[in-house]
Assembly symmetry: C2
Homo-oligomer: 623 residues x 2
């Protein structure tokens, strides 16, 4: 107690020791006293530290069978866990935290294979989910804790069993993050655990992957039709979201993204039919055929990646589109939508489920509860193969930095450059600059920095460009060099590594193409960079040396787009350097596997005395 | 002090306060007293807590110019940093730790773009490296700390400046991990910081990527020739490693991996010449050509990934091979070899550098000091694009789990299955099982689990298989079902998710192909799985439903290999589901970029009133 005292006092917290024995809980008077003592202490901001009065506590009396039958009071006071449970029930506390040296409850002993960690433990789960049963005996020493926890739960007290060694455990639990195992009866965070949903997505995805492409197409067509036939339900749900959003004062642009209209739904349906029509090209496409030896043929074919997690903000129309892409590519899918679109997403998800049911893959796609912590999803590398965040730069960046072992496909920023070479044609330059910056300034493929060859500073060229930008209402910031040159020029740009995303840009002067390229190396984000020149050799060297995802010559940066590239529906734009890069179509949701067919081929056959010889002869792809 | 006292006492540590003033350091007697006091306290295991005796300390006298000239004693005692420095120098302490609220020294103020964190700060660095200079004023408030640190360093005391808020900072520093900035004069961890080496690799790689494929090839040929002409130097260096390894009692198999022979070098050279000859196919290959519109042509071409980090154990012969692959694919490369092969790697690296010099890309490939913490390399996502660990399962697994934001290409384990269907041919089955398990049991593509259809349990079939395995000296473990069936069968396998990697395997019985497939889903590692059957429909459904990297029919699992697949030199085998999958050739070191050529095309041209129309017509790849 003196150690407790010393430590608490460092935080200016007063404590008091309270010793109890089991009879105290049965004698009405002692019970009343105990409770008033505790409430008095708490009202005085004194933290009671309670323990069994070992000196006087008698041997346990009534012992409760494991699980503890509600109604009948009394579990053994042998251990502090049951003491805690009884006290918690007694004072009707909101939360009981039981700390141990293990992280929580597993479906089996943690060291056994297939042992699952249980984040939530609801009393219905206890009876429905297979490993809910085992868990009590799962981790051996945990029995008494699980016992006490369920006993308290039956009396309306939520319980967390967690690892006490863990840093800031209590703080984290109170902040609502998932730590340890949460015993609760509220549906909050409860229902089916995400791990199970993800496993179902894996299984469902495998069904999607093995059915025929016609079946996949039919499923997507069905979804497209439902968007029209169930239009009113969707719009009603969307109305709810809009009303709540307006109440909570959501910004205008966000509101328009959130709102669904009959027109939007029609276009959505059209897009889905297109995805369906082209879906036969996705799974099972042969990329390489090699005759390794007589009767031994190797094929590399496209297959789904597995289970995708798509995190999207507002825009509920993303949901059916992403779902369609997943179905078309035979992937399982977890969808995590924004709270603000909860009703719309729920309504749309029902349609997805209905169409999946038509091909017996209902579980392939699930909407993850908006309450699920993203952090928890990002740690499920066993269940999720690829994460695709769709939304603001902030969202993508935070997902990229949080996800540790699951690859994230996306681009944190698009700092696109347009370089005007000394041999550029003024008219083309003006046109390409205008389009790159002004066509849609908020897009990630819009120009942020304009690099101008110094030769163009004499004469009209430069001023023409600036006047055009001014006329278009573009605010200009000057790079250091330009700022030096002009006495009354535009203000100095705070940084040249910035995505303005609006009618604003940075203009800088460079000595030559090398300086331009080095500027892009240094400040670019590897998204899209453009050169304007009439000299094809210069263009070629620029396009060779710049290693961004997209490098254009005499064309607007705005062409960096999946549809414009002819990739069909765009999954996203990736600035990653492995897997898909640049605008990504449905190919980005596919990987490959190697299929080898022999008769009875063994590697040993190819040894000196094996008699077989390698051919490694590549065959035409269409068998 | 009483708070210190309270907190230290919780760890049973006694403390003592010592107050000093500047004159104490100049008066010989007080100095002697001070030192004996401190050493006495330390000898009594009492931690001295030293502070300026503010009550009596006079205003600072001699002030030292920034940087502190050695020889001349005395820097201001205005701050605790210089007090610490003087004390550290006084008692010749091994390490002085200065804790602040920033993480350490940056090349510029951390909030400025391009600011680099300095892990090590050697006095030579101070004068050579550009940002060594700035750093003193770099982070503003750090001046006095850097001052004190360099002053102490000049007097032979190593210093670490780190963030005191950081968890377990002192422990981590003492454990030798890189925390904060380490001021040192020893070459340990010093020389050029890895960040700089990595940046050079980026620059050098860009040179490799832009020169002609002939130049890349010539560089590799040169390296191959050097392996022969400089053979004796290599073997001498290798001898040193072997001697030290033998002294330290390295295991036989490891020794043989470590040892280089003229034969090994010859084969290595042959392999390198092959890589050179096929290298023209790598960079700049056109994968897709689309005519987006009149005069607007899009190409998707292969480009290097960027900077690779290859971590390899023993086998020094990996070094030239990996280097050749990097050169052939135009990638920058950081090599991290095992300590045991230090001399050999150094010798081989010199040859790589020499051949790179011939094409002016000397910095493209570097050998990272064996002292560099792997953990630090894995956190350099700004500098490294892909990590390839080559070595034991343990190595790969630890790299995969440690690397948080850099993709890792490799396979943690190869739990390969061979399923014998009820319609299998006995002779083929025997042959394929023997080869899969016995051809090279240590390989990752060797069979670990044999699944047998229950129909084959009656009759000779099963016993023939077991007898064959016994004859080959294979230890058999039984899966639960088989174990149930046999009264005197093999022992029960501890787990079915195990890579034996030796002449040992698990045998299990399944009711049908579904059970076989589910077993593989549950216990497999997605590496290579085989079905043996005469029924092609069964085979087809197996090859369709199993989503491992390699799925074979009537062929040994041992064919899962880059050379056997005809991919040329093998970079590794990947069980990842994005980027390269299965056996990976040099393609695995490439990504793509999109090259668009127009005349003056703007996105707005394609709007209703723009007048231009999309064609999206795919063109033949060979222009």
């Amino acid at each position: 107690m003196s150690l407790y005292d010393a430590m608490f006092s460092q935080y200016g917290v007063k404590i008091a020791q309270v010793l109890v024995t089991k009879p105290d809980f049965y004698n009405e008077e002692t019970r009343r006293n105990l409770i008033s003592t505790l409430s008095e202490l708490i009202s005085l901001n004194i933290v009671p530290i309670i323990n069994t009065n070992d000196a006087v506590s008698p041997p346990p009396q009534v012992d409760e069978p494991i699980g503890g039958r509600p109604g009948k009071r009394g579990i053994s006071l042998k251990d502090n866990d049951s003491l805690a449970a009884m006290l918690a029930a007694e004072i009707q506390s909101d939360l009981l935290i039981l700390m141990s040296d293990v992280d929580g409850i597993y479906s089996k002993p943690p060291w056994e294979e297939g042992a699952k960690f249980l984040h939530t433990f609801t009393s219905d789960l206890r009876h429905t989910i297979e490993y809910g049963q085992k868990s009590k005996v799962g981790t051996g020493g945990m029995d008494s804790k699980v016992n006490a926890a369920t006993w308290a739960l039956d009396r309306g007290v939520s319980v967390v069993i967690c690892n006490g060694m863990q840093d800031k455990a209590i703080k984290t639990i109170l902040s609502g993050r998932k730590v340890g195992t949460f015993f609760t009866d509220s549906s909050v965070g409860g229902s089916v655990p995400t791990e199970v949903i993800a496993e179902n997505a894996r299984t469902g995805g495998r069904i999607l992957a093995t059915i025929t492409s016609d079946q996949r197409a039919s499923c997507i067509h069905k979804l497209a039709d439902l968007l029209i036939s169930k239009q009113s339900d969707i719009l009603d749900a969307n109305q709810k979201d809009l009303q709540e959003a307006t109440k909570s004062g959501l910004a205008k642009p966000l509101l328009s993204r959130l709102s669904l209209t009959p027109a939007k739904l029609r276009n959505l349906a059209v897009g889905l039919h297109q995805i369906a029509d082209s879906s036969h090209k996705n799974v099972g496409r042969v990329l390489r055929r090699t005759k390794l030896a007589d009767g031994l043929e190797l094929k590399q074919i496209t297959v789904p990646i597995g289970v995708l997690l798509v995190i999207f903000e507002s825009r509920p129309d993303s949901l059916p589109q992403v779902a369609a892409l997943a179905i078309a590519s035979g992937n399982g899918l977890l969808l995590k939508g924004g709270k603000e679109a909860a009703h719309s997403n729920k309504a749309l998800m029902e349609l997805v489920t209905e169409s999946l049911a038509s091909i017996g893959a209902t579980n392939a796609i699930s909407l993850v509860s908006t309450r699920e912590e993203i952090g928890d999803l990002l740690s499920m590398e066993q269940h999720i193969d690829l994460i695709i965040p769709r939304g603001s730069t902030e969202l993508v960046r935070s997902i990229q930095s949080q996800s540790q072992h699951i690859p994230v496909m996306g681009h944190a920023e698009g700092i696109c450059h347009v370089y005007i070479d000394k041999e550029a044609d003024l008219q083309k330059a003006l046109k390409i600059i205008r389009d790159s910056k002004c066509d849609y300034p908020a897009a990630c493929n819009a120009m942020e920095t304009l690099l101008v060859h110094e030769n163009l500073m004499e004469g009209e060229f430069f001023s023409d460009i600036c006047n055009m930008l001014k006329k278009e209402g573009v605010t200009i910031n000057a790079g250091p060099v330009l700022h030096q040159m002009l006495t009354f020029g535009p203000p100095l740009a705070k940084t040249m590594k910035l995505e303005y995303g609006s009618l604003e840009c940075c203009v800088e002067v460079v000595k030559n193409i090398d300086e331009a390229i080095n500027h892009i190396y240094k400040y670019g984000s590897g998204h899209t960079d453009v050169i304007v020149t009439e000299n094809n050799d210069t263009a070629e060297s620029f396009q060779k040396r710049i290693d961004s995802a997209c490098v254009f010559h005499n064309a607007s940066s705005r062409f960096a787009d999946g549809f414009r590239f002819g990739l069909g529906a765009e999954v996203g734009i990736s600035t990653a350097r492995i897997h898909a890069r640049g605008p990504v179509g449905v190919e980005g949701l596919l990987t490959t596997k190697w299929v080898l067919n022999g008769t009875d081929h063994a590697a040993a056959d190819f040894s000196e005395d094996g008699g077989r010889t390698w051919l490694h002869e590549s065959l035409p792809l269409d068998e």
